[in-house]
């Protein structure tokens, strides 16, 4: 003990610099090349202590640079630093500081007093012993005078142990191959190619031992910039031979750090679209009917919407929305809190609002409820703790929803700022930042960084996330590195415009956050795993997919994941029914030319119980009507029609006079084919154009003329069109679809339908524009529907559609040529289970990439991809006789634009 006391009285200590700061070091070297850095502080004796009184002080008293001269000692520098700021020290003249500005030894207990370090080492002799004259004090040295309450144990120096290891090493740049551990002595330090100098800041496990950093025989101070090159070997030693210490009989420990320069090639962001698309395809299959909920629900919808897998009007989303309306109506009624879906979990509303925004649905009107209304009660929002305000902000900002209480957003922001942890992040619980909560808080606050307080908080949060990143590039929460934590970091980064794949803050040991999340992808199940040793997991998959979607959007310059300003929101739902008309673009002028006019209907509701449909169609007097047939999906009535020759008015009535049935339309795809009018030229047509228009269409709820008849008028403003009359063979064309490169149809390919007027019978048709050549395939289905010969081909999407109306590019053969039957995938002339299965197998990639003709046969729903929707389309056609979407699309394609 006596030795301790003697040492305590004679040894003043310095410097615990836990923050490796390249900027600071550079500044020190460049601006203070003749000075030492002096810090005087009390961080151990706190105002909370029982012995505390108001005459004491706490914190950093002095932090300054003192210019050296030939007579300088550690002590003179300390005194000069104190006096320069008007502070006083007692005992310096005796080489023992007993009090500084009234804070004296023993004030903080019997083991308290002033100690100090020189370059983070508790010197073994008094401060006067360290002089410029003897070469023991040099420019760039750091003197730290500190108050201790435990003979230095609370400052990192101890006589109780001889632990001569290094506890930690900080580098001004680069990252170690593995996290530093005092028992591991070999490391590789990866540094960017443009880094030529480093500062290295080691911390001894016991600061009673000296530490030095050297390259070869050249030793560097903690504040020095050390020149490095690829392969430079840096040795950090503690208690090295010749070093000094108050402790005795301790070993020496040396650590070798080899510098590895990273490639000078600029980091390239990696393309994640292949994995993203594959995972989304599987997700759309696995979660084929999403509902309200944390799994198989909103997050899946968000993935597929923001990942661009489905258009917002896709049936997948419209069906989901229908289910949501039912759920909201029942749940909000049950909770009975102004549209809240849960009494304490505001995130139930927030999650749904985010999903609805992603598909362009207004959360202010979902069924009978406004989901935004409850957000005016902040107490409800924060009942869940930090999660509530985070997701409230994200949800409200997803479509700039306004709350009745306009201060709600600020209350959320203030709440989040107040919950930031000391280490710069946010935590679900406890005081240490966790990556998930930190990331989500950043996502929520990202829109508010114009406020300097928010900006500071977010910057700290990003630094915290960078610090939390593991060498694998991943993040851990609840004790394990997991994909969900990484996903949240990626979303946070992309929200702020930070590339989580190349930004050095998010690359550790050469592994980025994007690398890390891709490592969790299970190619077999096409799902993401929660942790490395588990199987594909629904929640992990949701979060990983929307993180990759966020990243993909970032790379493509799209808005961030939760910034839905790119989504077109549904305007007020158009009530009522609308009709549209499909006509061939061109027909022959020959007498007897026949073609069809296809009338589609949208906005249909079978529950409306329509009993009767009637309408009037204006038919040119050069045409006669040969037939009127209802669409295959329509049932419940009997068709009656009459063409009044003198006026050209075709009157159509559809109802069942005996049974008075309701008219129904099967299936869920709308617009649906309502009826087809067969038309024929009574004589040689002399007009260049023929106008056909549907008007006066209405649905009646009763066919009893004696009763009070209620009517719903169908909007027929789009149900008119013009047919061009041509004298010779003429071509018109439309694009049925173009591939998007996601599911089997290359982006470079598009399906074109060519309608040929004045062609008497099916003939082999070849296109050749001098560069490209294609054999067109006759489509009996489209021909039958339109009444005009139609051909299809899969062509290069760079070819202008106008090339396919140029007769000079086409030649006819003498044979009938090949035909195409949609859905007959194997081309055996029969559509059955084999075709449906082949469609599934194509999507599952169990078969080779489909040929052009197979693509035409497979893509029966005429979107940009081949997937299980096409398989289901084949089933629907086989079982229910449902017309393939592509056929109706071709028939309606020539409808003039609005």
């Amino acid at each position: 003990m006596s030795k301790k006391i003697v040492s305590f009285l004679t040894a003043f200590a310095a410097a615990v610099n836990f923050v490796p700061c390249a900027a600071f070091t550079t500044f020190a070297v460049s601006q203070h090349d003749d000075a030492v850095h002096v810090i005087v502080e009390n961080t151990t004796f706190t105002p909370e202590s029982e012995d505390w009184n108001d005459s004491f002080w706490y914190g950093t008293l002095v932090d300054t640079w003192i210019t050296l001269d030939e007579n300088s000692t550690m002590m003179t520098c300390i005194v000069e630093a104190l006096e320069a700021d008007g502070h006083t020290a007692d005992g310096a003249e005796n080489n023992y500081i007993s009090s500084i500005d009234g804070l004296s030894e023993f004030d903080g207990g019997f083991m308290s007093g002033w100690m100090g370090t020189l370059n983070d080492w508790f010197t073994n002799e008094g401060f006067n012993s360290w002089t410029v004259a003897e070469g023991e004090l040099e420019a760039g040295d750091e003197i730290r005078v500190m108050y201790t309450c435990a003979y230095g144990d609370d400052l990192g120096g101890s006589w109780e142990n001889n632990d001569s290891t290094i506890k930690d090493i900080a580098f001004s740049a680069g990252s170690l191959s593995t996290a530093f551990d005092k028992d591991t002595h070999e490391y590789t330090l990866s540094v960017p190619s443009d880094v030529d100098k480093l500062t290295i800041t080691p911390t001894a496990s016991n600061k009673n031992f000296q530490v030095r950093t050297r390259i070869g025989d050249t030793t560097y101070k903690r504040t020095d910039e050390i020149p490095v090159a690829d392969g430079t070997e840096i040795i950090v030693e503690c208690n090295y031979e010749g070093s000094l210490s108050m402790n005795e009989n301790a070993d020496s420990n040396a650590y070798t750090i080899t510098v590895k320069k990273e490639s000078s090639v600029p980091a390239q962001s990696q393309d994640v679209s292949a994995v993203l698309n594959e995972a989304m395809a599987q997700l759309s299959e696995t979660v084929n009917a999403p509902v309200f909920g944390t799994t198989a629900g909103e997050w899946s919808v968000l993935c597929l919407a923001r990942g661009g897998y489905f258009d917002k009007n896709n049936k997948y989303f419209t069906d989901y929305y229908d289910r949501i309306v039912e759920t909201v109506n029942s749940t909000a009624s049950s909770v009975n809190m102004n549209g809240a879906l849960h009494k304490v979990k505001s995130t139930e509303n927030s999650r749904l609002i985010v999903a609805l925004s992603s598909i362009g649905k207004n959360a202010e009107s979902v069924g009978d409820w406004n989901l935004i209304t409850p957000y005016s009660d902040f107490s409800w929002i924060k009942k869940q703790g930090i999660n509530g305000p985070v997701w409230a902000l994200i949800a409200l900002d997803s479509n700039n929803y306004q709350t009745t209480d306009p201060t709600i957003r600020q209350q959320c922001i203030d709440y989040l700022l107040s919950k930031q942890t000391a280490d710069g992040g946010w935590a679900m619980s406890g005081t240490a930042a966790d990556p998930d909560m930190t990331s989500m808080a950043i996502q929520a606050l990202a829109s508010y960084t114009d406020d300097s307080n928010v900006k500071t908080a977010v910057d700290k949060g990003i630094s915290a996330l960078s610090s939390l990143q593991k060498d694998t590039g991943g993040y851990a929460s609840w004790g394990s590195i997991n994909s969900e934590s990484i996903a949240q970091v990626i979303v946070a980064c992309t929200t702020l415009g930070i590339d989580p794949d190349t930004d050095k803050r998010f690359v550790k040991n050469g592994n980025s956050a994007v690398d890390a999340i891709l490592a969790f992808y299970d190619a077999d199940s096409r799902m993401f795993k929660h942790t490395a040793d588990t199987e594909g997991n629904a929640m992990a998959t949701d979060q990983a997919i929307y993180a990759l979607a966020a990243y993909n959007r970032f790379l493509n310059g799209q808005t961030s994941l939760y910034d839905m300003s790119d989504v077109s929101f549904d305007s007020e739902k158009t009530d009522g029914l609308t009709a549209s008309l499909g006509l061939p673009q061109e027909i022959s002028n020959k007498k007897g030319t026949a073609f069809n006019a296809v009338v589609n209907i949208d906005g249909w509701d079978n529950e409306a119980n329509y009993k009767l449909m009637d309408c009037i169609v204006d038919v040119p007097d050069s045409l006669t009507v040969t037939s009127v047939t209802m669409g295959e999906r329509v049932s419940g009535g009997q068709i009656s029609w009459n063409l009044e020759e003198t006026t050209g008015k075709l009157r159509i009535v559809y109802f069942d006079p005996e049974k008075n049935n309701s008219i129904s339309i099967s299936g869920t795809d709308f617009p649906a084919e309502f009826f087809i009018i067969g038309l024929e030229a009574k004589e040689k047509l002399t007009a260049d154009k023929l106008d056909i228009a549907v008007s006066g269409m209405s649905m009646k709820f009763s066919s009893d003329s004696e009763s009070e008849v209620s009517i719903e008028v169908v909007d027929t403003s789009k149900a008119s069109g013009t047919v061009n009359v041509v004298e010779s063979v003429s071509f018109s064309a439309c694009v049925l679809y173009q591939g998007d490169g996601i599911d089997l149809i290359p982006e470079s390919k598009m399906a074109v339908c060519v309608s040929v007027a004045n062609l008497d019978e099916q003939s082999e048709l070849t296109y050749n524009d001098g560069t490209n050549s294609y054999n067109f395939l006759y489509s009996g289905e489209i021909t039958q529907k339109t009444g005009v010969l139609n051909y299809v081909a899969l062509v290069d999407s760079s070819i202008a559609v106008t090339s396919f109306v140029n007769a000079d590019n086409f030649t006819f053969g003498t044979e009938a040529g090949d035909s195409l039957s949609f859905g007959d995938v194997n081309g055996d002339g029969v559509i059955n289970a084999q075709d449906a299965l082949n469609s599934v197998n194509a999507w599952l990639r169990k078969t080779d990439a489909p040929t052009d003709i197979e693509i035409l046969r497979l893509n029966v729903n005429s979107d940009s991809r081949i997937n299980t929707f096409d398989a289901l389309g084949i089933v629907e056609q086989f079982v229910h006789g449902s017309e393939y979407i592509i056929v109706n699309k071709a028939a309606m394609a020539y409808t003039p634009a609005e």
């Binding site: 084999q834 299965l837 289901l872």
Partner: protein, 213 residues
């Protein structure tokens, strides 16, 4: 001695003829047996869908009756999809739907260790009656996890499904209404191993509905 020798010679010749005849008969018998066995064996190995003609139906009963569709034999592969198209006289018979058989597909393993489940067939009753053809399909969208397999067949009793009908008022006593396969397929991912009536790899046997006199 000479007579005795001649006698013995004659006896020996008769014996030879007898043996030859017996041998010939045995050969014929073996050939017949081989043909019968082969035929039996061949028939057993051609997967067959059979519409089992039910007992004669009475007009006066005015009740639903069922017609069994049986399946015998499947290959050693999985069949993730299957479809049947059966033509019937919709002016005399009203198709009422399909009822479950006992042929199952592979399925998720349950707590009791079993891992088979009944297939969920798609059929449109209304359309079937409109067009006079029952189109029924099963499709496993996973491409095999819930496929038909020969392990799912019961050697003695493999009832694929039951077709439920009712006689319409227009049905007449003594009439016979055919139930005829237009197409049938058990589709495998490797199409060369699929069973399809169009390719004669799946045999179909039609049935009929007979109305009592």
């Amino acid at each position: 001695m000479e007579n005795e020798a001649t006698k013995n010679k004659k006896l020996s010749r008769k014996k030879k003829i007898f043996i030859a005849v017996i041998a010939f008969l045995i050969i014929i018998l073996i050939i017949l047996l081989f043909i019968i066995i082969k035929k039996k064996h061949t028939n057993k190995n051609i997967p067959t869908l059979t519409i089992v003609t039910p007992a004669k139906q009475s007009i006066s009963a005015n009740e639903n009756f069922t017609v069994d569709v049986e399946l015998s034999g499947l290959g050693d592969v999985l069949y993730p999809a299957a479809s049947l198209s059966i033509v019937f006289d919709s002016s005399r018979l009203e198709f009422m739907g399909i009822e479950e058989g006992n042929v199952m597909t592979l399925g998720d393993e349950r707590a009791d260790g079993s891992s088979y489940q009944l297939p969920d067939w798609s059929v449109d009753i209304k359309r079937s009656n409109e067009i006079g053809q029952i189109n029924v399909m099963y499709l496993d969208l996973t491409g095999g996890k819930y496929a038909f397999s020969k392990d799912c067949l019961d050697e003695d009793d493999s009832l694929l499904m039951r077709l439920s009908f009712r006689l319409r008022g227009s049905a007449k006593a003594g009439d016979v209404y055919d139930l005829t396969f237009a197409d049938a397929a058990f589709a495998a991912s490797d199409e060369s191993k699929s069973l399809a009536s169009i390719k004669n790899t799946l045999k179909t046997e039609n049935g009929k509905v007979v109305v009592k006199e």
